[in-house]
Amino acid sequence: MLRFLWAVRRLLRVLIYALTTAIGLLAFLYPVIVSGQAASTPLLLAFVVGLSFVALLLEVQGDAVNAKFIALLGILTAMNAALRFAEVAIPGPGGFSPIFFLIIVTGYVYGGRFGFLLGALTMLVSALITGGVGPWLPYQILTAGWVGLSSPLLHPLTRWLRAEGCWTEVALLASFGLGWGLLYGALLNLSSWAFIVGPGAPMPATFRETVRLYGAFYVTTSLVWDLARGLGNVALTLAFGAPTLRALRRFHKRFSFTYRLQGP
């Protein structure tokens, strides 16, 4: 009976992940799919993204009322937010951002929930500290959260390649960082597309035309930045990945167990 309930809960959780991803994608792609939008659409989209994030957060946070989890998340968020502060204060090349490295690696070692929360909260807390709260924040939070949430997807690959603990694992994480570096930029661009390009941009009849147009937009505005971000992730992962994985795994044991009462 207990197993059944647990399986049902798990199914519900997957369903929530799927739905919020779908909504998020819809919101991101909306301006590309639909022509003739009203002036208030961008804000509505941001609201919808925010809402689905709220639902996702509710789910992810569900099991996390645990002092160790929260203390660890808090301290790592502080560290990551401090890194982001350094990024804002000392701009690196293009879109280079040191925060994704920790998000990916902790998501990989400590699980999707942790990665999601670290990503989302890094964005939130650093926005609070640097005063960068704005209409782009829900998109940033959701996307950074997705980065962390998706890291554990590498586990089957690592297991299949039997790469635990050797540099292949680090290489996998590095390429993951490259991919997300580009994808993050692409997704955020989609969101700002709605803000910048209005009706009157010739919405072509075919979907393919729109994609071509968006491709042009993307290449002109942000490809370089996203490449810098992706390559930055690769560099950081290759340089710091192995020792960080070791340190995180060493502490994993102390953080994640529950005490079961001994019998009389």
């Binding site: 160790k68 808090g74 020792p243 070791r246 060493r250 044991k253 167990f257 005490y259 009462l261 001994q262």
Partner: protein
Amino acid sequence: MIRLEHVTYTYPDAARPALRDVSLSIPAGAFALVVGTSGAGKSTLLRCLNGLVPHFSGGTLTGRVAVDGLDPVALAPRGMSRAVGFVFQDPEAQFVMDRVEDEIAFALENAAIPPQEMHVRVAEALAQLHLTPLRQRKLETLSGGEKQRVAIASALALRPRVLALDEPTSQLDPQSAVELLDALVRLSKALGLTVVLAEHRLERILPFVDRIIYLPDDGAPVLTGPPRDVLPHVPLLPPLQALARTLGWSPLPLTLEEGRCFSTDLTNQADLLIPLKPVQSVEKKAPVLETHGLEVAYGSTTALRGVDVALYPREIVALLGRNGAGKTTLLKCLVGLLRPRRGEMLVEGRSIAKTDVADVCRQVGYLPQDPNALLFADTVLDELHITLHNHGIPVGDAPIAPEILLERLGLRDKIQQYPRDLSVGERQRVALGAIMVTQPRVLLLDEPTRGLDYRAKAQLLDLLRNWRAEGLAILLVTHDVELIAETADRVVVLDQGEIVAQGRPAEVLRASLTFTPQIAHLFPDRDWLTVEDALAGIRNATASTRA
């Protein structure tokens, strides 16, 4: 009030139990002190009281624990929070909130106390610890002592009957430590709390304690009882009690006043001669490190002014001074982390004013206050290799072979261990190894004995004395007068950025009111600073009176 029956606890993955068959009881209203070396189980014992062991740490616990009628193992820390308040060692890692008030209210919020009641309790906790003027302050602006007081206030907000403190003063300077302990004693009397405290530096707290729990580290059974019964069995004691035990003073004095009764008797009985310390012929060698007219400023404030200091080989110099006097500034300047505004610094005759830190540190070793900031390798041996690598020295060409150095440091069997898993004293010695592997001529130490127990302190002193004999010049910044009494050849006192006194420990320490060792308090007219001095002096006198 507190009762442990046949408690045995083993940490997960540990070879031996941390607590073995411990049975003790502490009556309500007692002020109990837990004594033992690092690793003997003091922290473990305290954490049994509120359920952190075993709920937080895992492992296996057998036996019964009862605190105020409650079972910590069944209730877990959350359930025990209303019965037991806990204060930890590090003031930096206990706080969740920003302001003093909010931090104290955190515990109350968790317990879902109604808002009006919360306001009352917060005000009460603030008043008890004299924190009311600080109530709106941000926590990061407070001193260490004030932060620990806030920690106590937050623990007391839930009105527990038991207060457990795990080395609350070990990160504080002596003044703040004394204030904190005074506040604690006063509070426990006023509120009728049962206090269980673990401490290394016994001299500050012994006068107020009515029960001692001694955890021997060789697995012998735990000793509990009134101080005078248990103390004679504790190997390492503060100077007053050590002297009293050797001379057979009975009843064992716990305070300096009690000690003075015995010591004045002694000085009245026999006319004790001042022992002639063998005057070391001071071979005036060339100084290894010297400064002339050093002046350092932070922005518009001058931290150091006109500082002339010289360090010679084969000596240990202690640097004394109150907080903010400029001691750490001087050390940082000597190693090159700070550039002076004016003045000269010479190492073996060559100026280092323009030299990079990375180069200076080959000749001038510096151990910072927190050696944890140094350690990041996977094994102890790697730490030494990393320093060599930084300097571009191949391992084979090292001035001293790393393994040999580690053996001298007493870490031979820990070579392959992860440094951050070691005890505080061992970590410090690993850091020392990482610095000394280039065989510098000078060693600067910033508060090395903070947080060390007596045994680790003794090990460190042995190490320093050995290095001194080999020709090293050592400069120690410390608040610990007993340490100075035992090791220093020379004392320099710094106040508000200037040197106000220099000389032999006996002269400088007796001339100052705040920095006097216990033995000097007992025998005010003598030149004695340590237990050995006193014993030697008394034997000399007895011998000469007989003769």
